[in-house]
Structure formats: structure tokens, C-alpha cells
């Protein structure tokens, strides 16, 4: 009987001296783009690196940044959520309209129930009926956006409740001040990073998106994983709605019209694959900051808003091109 040792060629060693693996990490591209943008704008405008402006970039990134975390997790399952911004907008209106009757805590709870319910509808249709997420969430987006308008009666609702605007409070030392909303943004990323990388449920998200057949073979409950992902999307949308009222204490059914697409932009620029199973929330945080820095910097050096959209659009296509090329090389 032959006894041979199966030689699997050694892994590229990741010792401290060999740092070439750094260049192969998926986050290197987005991070390099972010650093490049910061350098260019700090040369272009003396105000860019001021504490006030950096805090502003953070604050402008809060709502899209929080929603982009949820979008990342959905896209990791090879899905997409076009309704996420609309759910958050409905959340702000629910909070603003119910707070006079039920108080701050009650308003938050009602908004949570509404947002989770919509997420659960998305999740049930995607998992149990196996409908394409693009179509399902396009449908809920349309319905939820209309429901927001109807419920708001096309009016806006200023919010004065201290609890609902809590995340607008600022903190910091000296000139380095920012709002609690930025803290919430970082907290949401930290929690989701932990869930994705340190819990079985997070590993199953990668499994369901990366190789659904293998996921089924290993006994992972695919439907339950998908349902949980869309329910979690609802929870995060409610948090984003709360943070949005901290940023601008006014619930407006016409606000955050481009939020759905902006989250996808941040996710894709952050290096997460639209085909599922590959990517991270860290990339999305960098992607969010790239978009934030780009818009802020271009405004500072006096570029028109519409040109900013063209630049963001070009960046998305570039990021998807990189993803495609990377996929072809690994296959």
C-alpha cells in the first residue's frame, strides 16, 4: 500500500517581514483612493483638513454610512436592497408624527416595528418565495415611498423631542468636536463587523452569498439566514432614521431621495462584490468616506454638484470593473 504525503503547496507566508500580501488585500485599492483624495483636496483647499471640515464630512456621512452597512450585508448574500433609504425616511416620519402622542421611547419603538416589518416582508419574499431581491425591493421601495408621502400628507414635521434629536449633540475636545451621530455610525460598523466575522450567523452570510449549494450541503438554513439579513436591514434603517433626526431635526418625505443608490455606491466602491460572498463592512466604511470626501472636497474647490455626481458615477463603474477583473483572475 502506498503511503504518500499530499503536498499542498504552502500558503503565501504572512510573516511580519514579508509584506507583499498587503498589496493583494481587497481593501488596499479603496484605502489608496481615499488617501489620494485626501492629499489632493488638502492641497487644493487649505480648509479641507480643518477639524471643523473633517467633522462635517463625518456628519454628512452618518445616514448613508449607517444604511450602507445594511446594504453591505444584503449584497454579501448576493442580494440587493433598493428600499433601504425609503424605509429609513418612513422611519423618520413615523417617529416625528407619533412622538406627540406616545413620547420619545414610544415613537422609537413604533418606528422600529414598522421598519422591521418592512424588512421582514422583503426577507420573506426573497427567502421563502425565492423572488429576486432586485424586484422585491424595487416593489417595496415604490410602495414605501408612496406610503411615506400619504402618511406625511406631503408635509414636513419638525422634531423637538430631546430623545429623537439626541444624536445631534456634539462632543469632543477643543476644536475637535463632532456629533454623537458619528459615534453611532462607528458603533453600527463595529457591531456589524463583530457579527459578520465573529459569529456563526455572519459566516453563514458569506456562505449563502459565496456558494449557496455548499451552504445547503453543510446544513446551513439558507432561508433563515436571508430572512434575518433583511430583518436586520429594518433594524439598521430605524437606527439611521434616528440618526437622521439628530442631523436634521425635520422629518421630510422628500429627504434622502438618492439614499438607496448612494448606499450601493459606497458598498461597491468599498470593494464588496455585487455577486455576493466577497467583501467587508470595513471596505464600505472606506467607500462611504471616499464619497463623503469627494463631495466635500469638490464643493470646497468650487466644483458644481452635478459634476460631483459624474465623478461619483465614474468611480462606481471603476470599482465594479476592478471587481470583475479580480474575479476573472481568481477563477
Amino acid at each position: 500500500m502506498t503511503t504518500s504525503t499530499t503536498q499542498i503547496s504552502p500558503a503565501p507566508p504572512r510573516s511580519r517581514r514579508d509584506w507583499t500580501w498587503v498589496a493583494r488585500q481587497p481593501l488596499v485599492g479603496p484605502l489608496a483612493a481615499l488617501i489620494l483624495a485626501v492629499i489632493v483636496f488638502s492641497i487644493g483647499s487649505p480648509r479641507f483638513l480643518s477639524p471643523y471640515n473633517l467633522s462635517l464630512i463625518g456628519q454628512q456621512s452618518i445616514v448613508i454610512g449607517i444604511l450602507a452597512v445594511a446594504q453591505t450585508i444584503v449584497i454579501l448574500t448576493a442580494g440587493i436592497d433598493l428600499s433601504i433609504g425609503a424605509i429609513a425616511v418612513l422611519g423618520t416620519i413615523v417617529m416625528a408624527k407619533t412622538v406627540p402622542q406616545v413620547g420619545g421611547v414610544g415613537a422609537l419603538l413604533i418606528a422600529l416595528v414598522v421598519c422591521v416589518a418592512i424588512g421582514a416582508v422583503n426577507g420573506s419574499l426573497v427567502s421563502f418565495l425565492r423572488l429576486p431581491p432586485f424586484i422585491v425591493t424595487l416593489g417595496t421601495y415604490t410602495a414605501v415611498a408612496a406610503a411615506s408621502q400619504l402618511y406625511a400628507g406631503s408635509a414636513t414635521y419638525p422634531v423637538t423631542s430631546p430623545l429623537l434629536t439626541f444624536f445631534g449633540q456634539d462632543f469632543g475636545i477643543g476644536a475637535w468636536r463632532t456629533t454623537l451621530g458619528v459615534g453611532v455610525l462607528i458603533l453600527v460598523y463595529a457591531v456589524c463587523f463583530y457579527v459578520l466575522h465573529q459569529t456563526a450567523g455572519g459566516q453563514h452570510v458569506y456562505a449563502v452569498g459565496g456558494n449557496p449549494t455548499a451552504a445547503r450541503f453543510t446544513g446551513i438554513k439558507i432561508n433563515r439566514t436571508l430572512l434575518m439579513v433583511y430583518i436586520m436591514t429594518g433594524v439598521i434603517a430605524m437606527v439611521a432614521a434616528w440618526a437622521a433626526l439628530g442631523r436634521i431635526p425635520n422629518a421630510d418625505p422628500n429627504a434622502y431621495q438618492t439614499a438607496n443608490l448612494d448606499t450601493i455606491t459606497a458598498v461597491v466602491i468599498g470593494g464588496t462584490s455585487l455577486f455576493g460572498g466577497r467583501g467587508s463592512v470595513v471596505g464600505t466604511l472606506i467607500g462611504t468616506l471616499i464619497v463623503g470626501v469627494l463631495r466635500n472636497g469638490l464643493t470646497l474647490i468650487g466644483v458644481d454638484n452635478l459634476y460631483q455626481n459624474i465623478a461619483t458615477g465614474a468611480l462606481v463603474i471603476l470599482a465594479v470593473a476592478f471587481d470583475q477583473i479580480a474575479r476573472r483572475r481568481t477563477q
Binding site: T6, T199, A214, F217, G277
Partner: protein, 263 residues
């Protein structure tokens, strides 16, 4: 050492019909302790239906499956897994973006003890890595780190990870369904080596394969499936490859002993 004649997994008179199509037509099956049993058959002979019945992916209409002589019923693949039967599939059943340890423990993750594990559901990654490395070295797979992602591995190496997963949890039987179908020549040789390693550890292996050289290379006995049932079990040391192909296609009749399950 286990007695080589001890029967681990057996099936009698299995029948499965899909409408007017009979996929399994009174099939017999017998796997003995510590052996590599190859299951071969022409396309459409029903060997994959038989294997599905043994791995719980299909529930037969009639007939019985026994493990260690006791009747068992597999309604799902999970039932079979609870009985220690693990299956390696031809499509590489690994998750590209996860590391080797996570792939080995996929669906059976280990959690930390205490507050972090029970309340915060934190995975015990260090333990999963150590145990994965142990399993890898048990099968003499020379891999330095269980933390690299599976997408950095070649096809053969990925199948190696899938085999390690099955061998790690398959306490009784490993089923390999065309494990080399997606692989090149050299990588297939690697998987064949893994099958020998598993046999050396005393685990019996059911190998479904179209590749006659592979079958003759590793199999102790060959189960020839034809027309939905077992045509016979032959000894690769007695029969030539040409004879086995003839038995498989019906060009040749098995001996009485082979028809009754071989020596």
C-alpha cells in the same frame, strides 16, 4: 482493528420511483468496515439515486437501510450526518471568501465558553484553527496555516478542504460523489491519496467515480450498478478493467458469487 468482514452500512431491496421512471429497482448494497468500495455504473444506471438514499438526500419508497445491522431511516441529509455519514460532492463545496478553519467547521461552528460565547455568540476561532490544523495533518495535508482564505487555494486543495471536513465529522462512513470530476490529473491524484489516508484511519469510503484507473487504483471492491440495481460486486484484483466495463454495460454477465455480493 475492525474485522474486515463487519458490515457497516447495508441496504436491501431499495425501490424509488419517480412517476413512471424507476430510479432504484430493488437495489442491494453492502459496505464493510475499513474498505474503499467503488460504485460504478453507466449514466442513468441509478447509482446517484442509490447514493442519495444512503446519504439522506432521497427517501426510498420501500426497502431498508441498516447501520451496524440496525435499521435506520434517513429523511434528510442531516439524519445521515447524525449517524456519522458525511458526503463529499463533485462541485467543490467550499466558501471562497472564508478561511480554511471556517470552511472545515461550516454549519458546525464552535463557540467560546462563558459570556462571550453564550450571550455574544462569539466563535472560538483559535480552537477551530487548531482543530482544523490537526485534521489537516491527520490526513497528511501539508498546509501551514488554516487562516488563509479558500479562494487562494487551487481546485485540488479546495477539494482537500472539503475532504478534511467530511473526515473530521464523518465518524462512520465517507461518501465521495465524483470527487475528482472538477479536477485536473495531478489534483485528482491528490484526492486519491486522501482516500487512502482515510482508509488507513479505519473509516470506510464509498467512492462514486467514472474514472476506471482511479477505481482500480484505490478500491478494495467494486459495486457495479446497472438498470437501477446491483449487478454484482467484483474484486479488482480478479477482474480486469475491460471486464468491469463489460459488466457495467451488460455485455458480460457476473458470476453467481459476484451477483450475490462477492466474496
Amino acid at each position: 482493528m475492525t474485522n474486515p468482514q463487519t458490515v457497516v452500512l447495508e441496504a436491501h431491496n431499495l425501490v424509488k420511483r419517480y412517476g413512471s421512471v424507476t430510479a432504484i429497482n430493488g437495489a442491494e448494497f453492502e459496505l464493510r468496515a475499513g474498505e474503499v468500495l467503488a460504485v460504478i455504473g453507466d449514466n442513468g444506471a441509478g447509482k446517484s439515486s442509490l447514493i442519495k438514499a444512503l446519504s439522506g438526500a432521497l427517501v426510498p419508497d420501500s426497502g431498508e437501510i441498516r447501520m451496524d445491522g440496525a435499521p435506520v431511516r434517513f429523511k434528510t441529509t442531516l439524519d445521515a450526518r447524525h449517524h456519522g455519514i458525511e458526503t463529499v460532492y463533485q462541485d467543490l463545496a467550499v466558501i471562497p471568501a472564508l478561511d480554511i478553519a471556517s470552511n472545515v467547521f461550516l454549519g458546525r461552528e464552535l463557540r467560546k465558553k462563558g459570556f462571550m460565547g453564550t450571550v455574544l455568540r462569539q466563535l472560538d476561532k483559535p480552537r477551530m484553527r487548531t482543530e482544523s490544523m490537526q485534521h489537516l495533518s491527520d490526513l497528511k495535508i501539508g498546509i501551514k496555516s488554516a487562516t488563509q482564505t479558500v479562494e487562494t487555494l487551487s481546485g485540488g486543495q479546495r477539494q482537500g478542504v472539503a475532504v478534511v471536513r467530511s473526515a473530521a465529522f464523518g465518524k462512520r462512513v465517507i461518501i465521495m460523489d465524483e470527487p475528482t470530476a472538477a479536477l485536473g490529473v495531478k489534483e485528482s491524484g491528490m484526492v486519491m491519496d486522501l482516500i487512502r489516508q482515510i482508509r488507513e484511519r479505519g473509516l470506510p469510503v464509498i467512492l462514486i467515480s467514472h474514472d476506471m484507473p482511479h477505481v482500480f487504483d484505490v478500491a478494495d471492491r467494486i459495486h457495479v450498478h446497472r438498470l437501477g440495481k446491483r449487478a454484482g460486486v467484483v474484486d479488482p484484483k480478479v477482474r480486469s478493467m475491460a471486464e468491469v466495463v463489460a459488466l457495467m454495460t451488460g455485455a458480460m454477465e457476473p458470476t453467481e458469487e459476484e451477483r450475490n455480493g462477492g466474496a
